[in-house]
Structure formats: C-alpha cells, structure tokens
C-alpha cells in the first residue's frame, strides 16, 4: 500500500499554519499539504484539491463539518476518482498521529484521526 497523503482544507491560513506546526514538532516534511478556500468558488477549490491529492490515496482534513471547505472536499472524495476519506474538525493532535501512521487505508486513517483528535480535547479543571 502506498503511503497516504494528508490534505488539510481550511478557511484563511489555518491549513498552512497546521502544516508548519506539524513539521516543527515532528521534522516530517511532505506528508501534509495545506490548501485554503480563500478567494475560491467551488470550481477553483475543486481544482486545488485535485492538485493536492494527486492520484491518492489521501485523507482530507477539513476544518468544519459544513461550509465550502467541507462540501467541496466531500464532493471531490465522491467524484474525484482517488481513494479518499474525509474527516472534519481538524486539530493538531490528529495530524501528529497521522504523519506517523500512514501505512493504512484512508478510511482507517480517518477513523484513527477522529479518535486521536477527540482525545486531545479536554477541559481543565475537569
């Protein structure tokens, strides 16, 4: 199985900032690509996704579970032709877990991201 690519899809520059943070923490480069919906309609965001995903397989990490980033990502995953899974609510914890665990299927990686991301959300004091 070829190693998974992660593509972060966000509003403004959140995606690029997350890529930079993962690289700063892990030293791993090239596992993640960040794309923004800034200035994009549905068509152009779809084109940015196509360029970022390549032939896949890939996991799309989307910021919100709705809105233009999500609808474009879900549509691309369904119609883009590559093996793609989408996970929403991207956070740094799920991305750090992802870059070390990319020898699994996109769906398994997305489920793993859901678990890692959710575990990182805590309240102090409990």
């Amino acid at each position: 199985m070829s190693e998974l690519r992660g593509v972060i899809v966000s509003h403004a520059a959140v995606a690029q900032a997350l890529v930079a943070a993962v690289t700063a923490i892990t030293g791993i480069e090239g596992a993640l690509t960040g794309i923004s919906n800034e200035g994009c309609g549905t068509e152009e965001l779809g084109e940015r996704l196509r360029e970022a995903v390549g032939v896949g397989p890939a996991v799309l990490f989307v910021d919100l579970p709705g809105g233009s980033c999500f609808t474009s990502s879900a549509r691309y995953a369904k119609r883009g032709g590559a093996d793609i899974a989408v996970v929403t609510g991207v956070n740094l914890a799920m991305l750090l877990d992802f870059v070390f665990n990319r020898d699994i299927s996109p769906v398994d990686a997305a489920r793993r991201a859901l678990d890692a991301g959710a575990k990182a959300i805590r309240v102090t004091p409990a």
């Binding site: 509003h11 919906n37 200035g39 994009c40 309609g41 549905t42 068509e43 152009e44 919100l64 579970p65 709705g66 809105g67 233009s68 999500f70 609808t71 879900a74 549509r75 369904k78």
Partner: protein, 157 residues
C-alpha cells in the same frame, strides 16, 4: 418578517451565510434555489451539515421557488434566499416581480472572468446581466459580509 437577504454566492451555504449573515439577522430558514441541488438528496445532505438544527433549510428548483417565493416572503420568520449564479438570479427575478434586490456575495474566479472586487469576478456578459437586472428595478449590490459596504452595481460592472 420576510426574506431579509437575496444572495448570489457560488459557494451556496457556507460560513459567511450561516454565521456572518445568519446570526445578526437571526435567521430561521434558508432557501437554496438550485436546479441541480434540488434534485440530489446527497448534495442536500452535504449542505444541511453546515447549518444548525434550529435553522430550516429548503431546497427548490427555480420553477418551484417562483411558485413558493411569495409565501416565503410573508413568512413570520426571517429567511435568506440563496442562488449560486447570476443566471439563476436573473431567471428568478424574471418570474417573480417582487424580487427587488440581490446581494452579490461571492462569484469567484473562473476562466473568462475578470476581477471586479476581491470576491466578485465576472465575465462581460455576466456584468451586463447584472446591469440589466438593476435597470429592471432590482437593487443589485455587492457585499460579502454585513460589516462591509454595499457596493452599488455601477461600481463593479
């Protein structure tokens, strides 16, 4: 109340609509007028995911919207009507004379379009259609979020 916003936005339902406009207007329903989306359950599910459960989402073809718009416009709740492109806005306004305003909220880059505003790219034909819409008595302005200035159609076409 009424339909408080008639908006042209190629992203259809997204954050600027639901949060940026929806919160200050205290919106209770969103009407998405799009022939393709209105015939696809899967696309409708995608757009519903971006909307809080307390806001009703109504999907309609142009034909159905023309029939139901008078009722939406006299609904006791506040609503937003969305179309994804200029042709749909023109078609709706042609069928329903009570459509008296359109907010151009997002028409993005595509081959053949020129930048008119940061969030508005138009072909010459699309610019002409917007001016013709205005000439028929529809107040056409461009404004992405409520805190921005409403730019009159003459300034961006």
């Amino acid at each position: 109340m009424t339909l408080a916003l008639y908006r042209i936005d190629d992203r259809l339902i997204h954050g600027q609509v639901v949060v940026g406009w929806g919160q200050p207007l205290d919106v209770s329903f969103i009407v998405l007028v799009d022939d393709e989306v209105s015939s696809s359950d899967w696309e409708q599910d995608l757009y519903r995911m971006g909307v809080p459960p307390q806001i009703e989402v109504i999907f309609a073809s142009v034909e159905k919207a023309a029939e139901l718009l008078p009722a939406w416009d006299t609904d006791s709740r506040v609503g937003i009507l969305l179309v994804g492109d200029i042709d749909t806005a023109v078609a709706l306004a042609a069928r329903v004379p009570q459509v008296k305003r359109f907010n151009v909220g997002g028409v993005h880059h595509r081959t053949g379009r020129k930048e008119r505003l940061r969030f508005v790219y138009l072909t010459d034909d699309e610019a002409t259609k917007l001016r013709q819409l205005a000439a028929r008595g529809v107040d056409v302005t461009a404004q992405d979020v409520p805190t921005a200035r409403a730019v009159p159609v003459a300034e961006f076409t």
